[in-house]
Subunit: 280 residues, 4 copies
Amino acid sequence: MNILNLQDIEQEAALRLDSNALEYYRGGAADELTLRRNRSDFDDIVLYPRVLRDVSHRSLRCTLLGQTFDMPIGIAPTAMQCLAHHEGERATAHAAVAMNVPMILSTTSTIAVEDVAQVEGVQLWFQVYVYKDRATTQEIVQRAVHAGCTALVLTVDAPYLGKREREARIGFHLPEHLCLPHYTRLQAAHVPAHQGESGLVRHFAQNIDPALTWNDILWLEKISGVPVIVKGIMRADDAIQAAAYGARGIIVSNHGGRQLDTVQSSIRALPAVADAVGHC
Amino acid sequence: MNILNLQDIEQEAALRLDSNALEYYRGGAADELTLRRNRSDFDDIVLYPRVLRDVSHRSLRCTLLGQTFDMPIGIAPTAMQCLAHHEGERATAHAAVAMNVPMILSTTSTIAVEDVAQVEGVQLWFQVYVYKDRATTQEIVQRAVHAGCTALVLTVDAPYLGKREREARIGFHLPEHLCLPHYTRLQAAHVPAHQGESGLVRHFAQNIDPALTWNDILWLEKISGVPVIVKGIMRADDAIQAAAYGARGIIVSNHGGRQLDTVQSSIRALPAVADAVGHC
Amino acid sequence: MNILNLQDIEQEAALRLDSNALEYYRGGAADELTLRRNRSDFDDIVLYPRVLRDVSHRSLRCTLLGQTFDMPIGIAPTAMQCLAHHEGERATAHAAVAMNVPMILSTTSTIAVEDVAQVEGVQLWFQVYVYKDRATTQEIVQRAVHAGCTALVLTVDAPYLGKREREARIGFHLPEHLCLPHYTRLQAAHVPAHQGESGLVRHFAQNIDPALTWNDILWLEKISGVPVIVKGIMRADDAIQAAAYGARGIIVSNHGGRQLDTVQSSIRALPAVADAVGHC
Amino acid sequence: MNILNLQDIEQEAALRLDSNALEYYRGGAADELTLRRNRSDFDDIVLYPRVLRDVSHRSLRCTLLGQTFDMPIGIAPTAMQCLAHHEGERATAHAAVAMNVPMILSTTSTIAVEDVAQVEGVQLWFQVYVYKDRATTQEIVQRAVHAGCTALVLTVDAPYLGKREREARIGFHLPEHLCLPHYTRLQAAHVPAHQGESGLVRHFAQNIDPALTWNDILWLEKISGVPVIVKGIMRADDAIQAAAYGARGIIVSNHGGRQLDTVQSSIRALPAVADAVGHC
């Protein structure tokens, strides 16, 4: 098949992946209203192009946190990429290098940050879940910075795992031959299913700290010495607050519609946030 | 099957119920425009969540008419629950206790209020249809209060039965082994179908008083000695009127889209009513 | 089958009618956009009902042109009703009597006005197409008034026949055993198909006068001595004009979506017209 | 089959054309959002017709650039018409004559302008792509004017070919028995597919000049001596600019949704342009 667009990739994935991986990747929370809005709201955006402007030279180059990239697009943190391919996050790093864009590595990656960072030329940022066990959080963060990650991306929209019915129906679990290398200290490196429930539900409830507040942005910057980007803000007022507490960037995101359903689409939330803090 | 959401319950019900019960439960009036709006208007509600607020402690507790419940959700009065299960309204009462929410028992229940009230810990309110025979109405209301109901819920959107085509097509009737125990004095305890028409059409036309006015709120409070909640108001002006005549609560409802079709969805009608009388 | 609503009637008709009649009755012009809007715009109308008003006595009675009817609904002129049933317009007249509503008889009826008028108690108005042959028009109009029609209904939205593709595809024609009794003088009593085109196309092009103007309202009233209602107005300014030229009533209509496609639905056009001339 | 409307023609075409031609003709860019909007936005246009105005005489005649036509509709430039029929652009010219409307001949026609111009009575305008090779552009333009074209139509929305996935999937190519006669000097008269990509992608990338600016309107008028119409403007500000640089007409167009997807529909873009320059 000739892969021309994202739909082609999704079709191909549906043929190749087992249901455990497929339902994990494609599912959203609850009725998947936000998941669908995330997609359909893009279709409603209308462009008003200009003509006769000499477009023989064009550039999408941009500078983010002092680094230069070929386009203002990055690779979002996606967990457990070895579910799809045994090269997992390493393969993604190669793609990031090929396109010269940043890659955000998930804390719940299936390949350790040290191994991903060995990919020649990759510009890595590290996505952080803050655990109830703060000492372990600090250790993982410092390990990521030591490996070469130049920024942290703090996820703030997941104090509890979204109600993901697809994962519950298939009893989502991390296959036995995989593990989460950053969680070995937490003894949570394996994610088995529990009683017809996704293994992630217990994983989140046991490990993730739901008491996170604005001061944790400052704390993360202090323990890491690198800029902190906040991921999961959907409101202008929260964006202003984040900037006031030292956030060096904001990723407007509803977690791909996987956390709280009925939330606005990310693309609709973006303009108000950009207006509020886009020029900080 | 793993029951995860309301759609699952509906699917399961469609497998288990006979068509007489199923069409009664799932039908709306006429073209079912309002029935569909009641559902789809929920999907259009957009949440704008805040982040980084420390959500380790959360509570939905609330106080209604002096009683404390675990969440601001109650069980609406639904008629003839033994159509679905022989434990009927008693089973529902156990669920209400388990969740610590109020249960509103329908006048047209298939289990008597005295029997439902025996469920340990249940907080019962009693739904009232006012009959042309006011003496019988008074007797039923006083019987409910005596059994332990702590509030009355007066239905005001059903002076005549809605034009329910599903019920007409199947000739809806109460099966012979069931009866309506609160109607024995009215000699209307059985609801047989009539000439390809739902048995409820004649039942309503013969018994229910279409001459109801605001003063009946006062009358009900006087004969019962308990607070009266008005169910079926969809307009701010009517809500103000109800409050002026002593209503202690208002349930914004279009009767599940089963009475007058083309009416606004309940969830869309709610904000204007809340603005008008929410702080009375 | 239990006939409960209009959709049931349409389904039943689809089973009983031959395609010549069925496609004629159910078709609209061109892409049938207006035909669908006529239906769907009704579904978008939202009612905001009041409660507790004593509805034991209700009445839809109304007076139109000095006649009293049981509801403000009449039977619109529909051509060639014997296509559906051999009793045709006579059967419709019996229905009008049963419901005590006015019946508008089409000029292109398949039963003569004198025969329809014999139905005991029928209140008949007569729909008029003005022909190029004005003498014949006058003769038909006077014949209708003599038979007992108490008003004329002048159709103004059909100077040419709408582009009805369903009629073209089936080569619509009036079956040989039927004729249009009011057209015998015009030698157009039969409506054969022509070369894969609806027979009505030639019928209209040959007979109907496309030069109609406001003065024809006055002319019709003068030659008939009865009130003239104008049917087919969709704009407030045209309604004001019609009233100024003596129209005694206006029927806001787009001819069932059968004339000019892409026109607004009739129900959407109604409020502006009612505001402009509703109290003349 | 009785061809009554454009949908019928599309269905018939789907039966008769091979997939190379069919996918080329019916495809749009990317997700075809604009392609669908171009169609559906027409359906949303509502007409508000007047009545009783004497419509026995009607005329759509109009004058464009000093020429009189029977209606204000012309034949847009469509490339490679011999894909559909061996008479190709000549057959279209006969249709233009029959309807007395202008025909715009594409630079990428499969029949030479001299041959099309021989059709008796045809009023030809010539669509221009400006090539990187300006000398060849000038030669083609002068050849068209010499053959009898009375205006040039400069396409400005195609500095690069749209991302047309249908063409890519079938590996679109011009069949060997056809060629582009105006491209013989460019040695681009044949359009073979390349590696699962439409042959047009390379054709455009190699030949078309993406450095076009407003001054090229003046240049074209100067080298041709005939009026220049600009095709592909979708904004009022660009239309004003075009007029200031000597454009004698503007065709509001998004290239049939085949260039930049997510652009507004042409019919929606039209009013603002007409307001800005309609009376220049």
